[in-house]
């Protein structure tokens, strides 16, 4: 497995070199820069996060206490705070720009500082992640084995913050993100790992994986 990953990372770097990037593109995450960012992350305050959740209109799209009311936006309840913190930073820097829909989140994160982001992350982190009742009804497609290293089949966040919780997200949202990674429109992954993984997935496989996680 490790061998495959190494090959993939090499392939990814080749892709990066081939792609001409302007100076305006925010730098991509490496393991080193991400480790630094984690060290610099302020301690989040749940109460301040709750206040900010209301003030910044988060609930409009991400729902009451972070449970999304529609398929378009992800639920944030019970998410790994580190992932939320990183997502907010990525929206602010413009790295997370799939298409112009991402500009809404970009605008909303512009007034935030790192403390605000850590507070929001803390607030969502202590909420209860949405669960589906018929989790057993869907079986994991074989191709999913590779995913579970960082996104456990339980739908929870991966060990040592290796990947966000995917359980309870909408199929639509998960497929949209997989596609964005596949076509390098979302480049927020550390070391380009998700981009290379998504490369290997067909539309059918994407759908099957998304359906599985959505039911967890």
């Amino acid at each position: 497995m490790l061998k495959i990953l190494c090959v993939l990372v090499t392939l990814w770097s080749t892709y990066l070199m081939a792609e001409s990037r302007t100076g305006q593109t925010p730098p991509l995450w490496t393991s080193e820069s991400w480790a630094e960012a984690i060290k610099a992350m302020p301690k989040g305050d749940v109460q301040r996060g709750e206040h900010l959740d209301a003030k910044a209109y988060c609930a409009t799209c991400h729902g009451d206490k972070g449970v999304a009311p529609s398929r378009n936006t992800p639920s944030l309840a019970g998410q790994d705070p580190l992932y939320i913190y990183k997502a907010l930073m990525d929206f602010k820097s413009g790295l997370w720009h799939i298409d112009n829909k991402s500009l809404g989140m970009h605008a909303l994160t512009l007034p935030m500082n790192k403390q605000d982001m850590a507070d929001l992350a803390a607030f969502y982190g202590v909420q209860v992640r949405p669960h589906q009742t018929n989790a057993a009804a869907v079986s994991a497609p074989p191709v999913m084995a590779a995913c579970t290293t960082c996104h456990p089949a339980s739908g929870d966040a991966g060990p040592a913050h290796s990947g966000p919780a995917l359980g309870g997200q909408s199929v639509y949202y998960l497929v949209r993100q997989l596609n964005a990674f596949k076509h390098h429109r979302r480049n927020t992954d550390v070391g380009g790992l998700m981009g290379s993984m998504a490369q290997m997935l067909s539309d059918k496989q994407q759908e099957a994986i998304a359906k599985f996680y959505a039911q967890q």
Binding site: K55, A56, Y57, N100, K101, L103, G104, H106, A107, L108, L110, P111
Partner: protein, 430 residues
């Protein structure tokens, strides 16, 4: 069920987008009606597109002299550095996809009895239904010393986006340090009510970086303006408004701010209170009326605007004629509303061709304005026609002037405005 419901229309639209660039191939019957649309702007192109989406058995002709259309909504951004090409479209895509006959010409005269148009090149074009969406007419002679020629060369309006937008941008860039720009809004109603103030606000933001001692003076024909409280609050915070260091000054009509005279050689304007103001850039926005074609052909009955039946935007003066957009007698004039009116007319013509009732229209207007890169505002209004009268049904403004400051909303509404512009341009031309 006699009409196409909104849901059905959405389905049709969905089908059209799945088809990608594929054309909607009409199958014309022998008696296929001829619909002629004058003006290839927002109102005209929306009418053509939506009529084709619901009816493949109608000939649609659009008469438009220009080969490139420049969107007015959002074009203030071009004055401070955005590329104008983002706002420009050719007609080729619409022509192919919606099977339109495009005629690059100007309409000179209309013979309502023979249902025939005469163009500048002498061509005669027959219609069964005529949709007039030619944009507003501009009045220059109510300001002494101003003329159409001056408006095209030195004392610009940039109230029809395109060449003048770029010329005004260059004038702003060429201003000396500490220079003065005058922006003079005309009396209401005029196309896009918040735009003069947005323009002032954008240029002030640009000046803060490039011409920090520069100043903008708004010389107004109106006692107040839309989003006034929000703009003034923002200018107080950012532009030292109301102090002697202000980079924006606003002289209302009640303070005698209306421009009465312009001297292009000495670059001065004279305003109603007798004051003379020297400026480096003079941006006069002309009084708007219905387009001259409509005045000439009697559709305005000697008044400023073309009287319409708000039930279906049909002319109250001539049969089988519809007037939409800035020329129509509607107290608000925006691109958003023109697009809504175009959809109402498409539905109305389709209904008439099938002997159906056109239904009860709901008009929606949305004004999305910005004060700067960090402050957006929206105003949504809905209008219904009841017993022959147009009534404002609902009006929602965000942020409310009474609302406590919310930096998140301010920022989000900027993104909302930019995204709306993009989606809107696609709705009209894609």
């Amino acid at each position: 069920m006699t009409q196409i419901s909104r849901r059905e229309l959405l389905k049709l639209l969905g089908a059209a987008s799945i088809m990608g660039g594929a054309a909607l191939r009409p199958v014309y019957g022998k008696a296929a009606a001829k619909v002629v649309i004058v003006g290839g702007g927002i109102g005209g192109m929306i009418t053509a597109k939506y009529l084709r989406l619901i009816n493949q058995d109608v000939h649609i002709t659009v008469i438009e002299p220009d080969s490139i259309y420049t969107f007015c909504p959002g074009s203030n951004d071009v004055l401070v550095g955005e590329s104008i090409s983002d706002f420009q479209r050719t007609y080729q895509h619409s022509k192919d996809r919606y099977q339109l006959q495009m005629i690059a010409d100007r309409v000179k005269d209309i013979d309502f009895n023979r249902k025939q148009l005469k163009t500048g090149s002498g061509k005669k074009i027959a219609y069964d239904y005529l949709v007039l969406s030619p944009g507003p007419g501009f009045v220059f002679d109510n300001i002494a010393g101003w003329s159409k020629e001056l408006a095209d060369s030195k004392i610009l309006h940039a109230w029809k986006a395109g060449k003048q937008t770029l010329m005004l941008r260059d004038q702003i860039r060429a201003m000396p340090q500490g220079g003065v720009m005058v922006i003079a809004p005309p009396p209401m109603p005029f196309r896009c009510p918040p735009a003069p103030y947005e323009r002032a606000s954008f240029v002030a933001e640009w000046m803060a970086q490039h011409n920090p001692r520069g100043k903008i003076i708004i010389l107004d024909n109106n006692p107040g303006f839309v989003f006034q409280k929000q703009y003034i609050k923002y200018w107080k915070q950012r532009r030292a408004y109301g102090t002697d260091k202000a980079s924006i000054e606003w002289i209302s009509s009640t303070q005698g701010g209306a421009v009465t005279q312009v001297d292009a050689r000495n670059m001065t304007v004279r305003i109603q209170n007798g004051e003379t103001i020297r400026a480096d850039v003079i941006n006069l926005i002309p009084t708007n009326t219905a387009n001259r074609l409509l005045i000439r052909t009697g559709l305005t009955q000697g008044k400023d605007w073309a009287a319409v039946n708000h039930h279906d935007m049909s002319s109250l003066v001539q049969k089988d004629v519809y007037v939409i957009g800035d020329s129509a007698d509607f107290n608000i004039k925006t691109g958003y509303l023109a697009a809504d009116q175009g959809k109402v007319v498409a539905q109305a013509i389709h209904a008439r061709l099938h002997n159906q009732a056109p239904g009860q229209p709901l008009y929606v207007n949305d004004c999305l304005a910005k004060a700067g890169k960090d402050f957006g505002m929206t105003l949504t209004e809905t209008y219904r026609e009841r017993e022959g009268k147009l009534q404002l049904a609902q009006s929602i403004q965000r942020p409310l002037s009474s609302e406590p400051e919310n930096t998140f909303m301010r920022h989000f509404l900027v993104a909302a405005a930019d995204n709306w512009q993009r989606s809107f341009r696609r709705d009209v031309f894609d």
